[in-house]
Amino acid sequence: MINLQKVCYVRLGTRDLEGATRFATDILGLEVSEWAKGARHFKSDAREHTLCYVDGDPSIQVAGFEVANKDDLDQAATELEKLGHAVHVGTREQADARMVREFIAFSDPTGNRIEIAWRPAVSGIRYHGTRDAGITGFSHIGLCTTDPVRDEAFWTQVCNARVSDRIGDAALLRIDEVHHSIAMFPTNRAGIQHINHQVETADDVMRSLHFLIERRVNITFGPGRHPSSSAKFLYFEGPDGMTFEYSSGVRTIADELLYRERQFRFDPKGFCQWGAKPQIREFM
């Protein structure tokens, strides 16, 4: 079993690094943690970075997960190879670019690029956003799946994820006490489906709504509230068509023994208990 601790970063390719940087700072409200040649690292919490835009094709979409120790990293590599996944062991240079000590990279059954990292860098300086979006940190990702049954089995049997709830066949998976760190949405492609940052309160969600409207950012879903995780949310479109989400008030699951996952309908009511209707392909 691959023992994932946390989702720790997202790497996205873009042809317009400056434009993406402007979005990440002025709109999303992250803080630049490093200006490198052909890459921009962004902070959203106590970690050194949680988002990185790299100069390249927008199809480059990588999700990074943290493991607790070197043994877990080595064991993950062995297990993945045994199952027939091609495992790339990151070079020192590549690890430095990710601000981690060591990492391995592979593709999940759908073809999503996944990295497993050991010792991702934590920052000594607290996060101070470019604007007061109230961000408390990078929290979860949506991942595309071309076969929800197969991929749920991969994440819950090969890895240590547990199903918290399902919306239709879309499984919301937890790897720690947070309701979900990975949300798997059935579609016909591979890649990251959305990127979530938590904000302090529902007030921050609503303030951002008006901030984004004034700047003509395309709001794709919300404001609303997920009946599954109880989080109040707002989805909007970032560079290269990537969906970003702010949310607040996600539930935690403390009692692993008593908790039972629930089935929600795959329709607007299953996604929002306030009545918002999604304009996001994978939610429709």
Partner: protein, 295 residues
């Protein structure tokens, strides 16, 4: 000074009683109490009724406040007369229509104020027609051509206190709630908005999508007032009167609270950045449409 106990009701004249009743029941979601040819009354809480639509082509507005007893009512009559208000003692028939023991009324610049004694309470649980999560009548906002004079009436003759000002708009309280009455400077006079409390942000936002589906025009919000801390959603009702749902909001500690002056600009009316589509709430132009809010 005359002690005002409680905001009791709002009576709104309308030329189309059927449409108004339909709005109160199916859009606003209140409980129908009784109706006849002349008026339709609605409950929102433990009070017998808090909203009445009356058949009145002139569309006159009146608001009812409770005073403790008939002695207080007599003192109120004297005090108001001294301040130049023309008092009308309510007839027994009029008192019966208002479901109060006795009352007096006077014209406070475009809105009739009823001071009532022993208004009816209900022993029955409030059971609304739609699950809007209404908890009760919270406040009334008035538009006024002479806010200064209004402030004198409500805070010097009657027992209200100013909780905050936004520009010259005054939020006036009679109990621990931040305000039960808001006076907004305007080019006309009357009831601007009738405000009902709802349980939480969930009901407020559910209503915001419900109202959009029903093609009700949302004129302000969803938002949060920096002054009272209330979340609000304001929309149009019959005869150009606005209605609001409000949730949360602070209570006032009399020993420590001092009224604050907020600047007259849009962000003093909404801390989320929503724009009011009315001159009373917004001094600026260029408002944009918001999902989950106005259409």
């Amino acid at each position: 000074m005359i002690a005002v106990e409680q905001l009791r009701y709002v009576r709104l004249g309308t030329s189309d009683l059927v449409a108004a009743a339909n709005f109160a029941q199916h859009i606003l979601g209140l409980e129908l109490v009784d109706q006849d040819d002349a008026q339709v009354a609605f409950r929102s809480d433990f009070r017998d009724h808090t909203l009445v639509f009356t058949r009145d082509p002139r569309a006159g507005h009146s608001i009812g406040f409770e005073v403790r007893d008939s002695e207080a009512l007599e003192r109120a009559a004297d005090a108001l007369a001294q301040n130049g208000y023309e008092i009308a003692a309510g007839s027994p028939e009029e008192a019966a229509r208002r479901k109060v023991k006795t009352f007096l009324s006077f014209d406070a610049k475009g809105v009739t104020v009823d001071l009532v004694v022993r208004p009816l309470h209900s022993g029955w649980r409030y059971f609304p027609s739609r699950d809007a999560g209404v908890t009760g009548l919270e406040a009334v906002a008035l538009r006024s051509t002479s806010v200064a004079k209004g402030e004198v009436l409500w805070t010097k003759v009657l027992s209200g206190k100013v909780s905050d000002w936004v520009g010259d708009a005054a939020y006036i309280r009679f109990d621990t709630a931040h305000h039960r009455l808001a006076l907004h400077p305007s080019s006309s006079s009357g009831v601007l908005a009738v405000e009902f409390g709802v349980e939480s942000v969930d009901q407020l936002m559910q209503s915001s999508y419900f109202l959009q589906d029903q093609q009700v025009r949302i004129v302000h919000g969803p938002g949060r007032r920096p002054s009272s801390g209330q979340m609000f959603l304001t929309f149009t009702g019959p005869d150009d009167v606005l209605f609001s749902y409000v949730a949360e909001g602070r209570t006032i500690d009399e020993s420590t609270h001092r009224p604050r002056q907020f600047p007259r600009r849009a962000r003093s009316f909404c801390a989320w950045g929503s724009r009011g589509h009315l001159p009373e709430y917004d001094t600026e132009h260029g408002a944009t449409a918001a999902p989950g809010g106005r259409s």
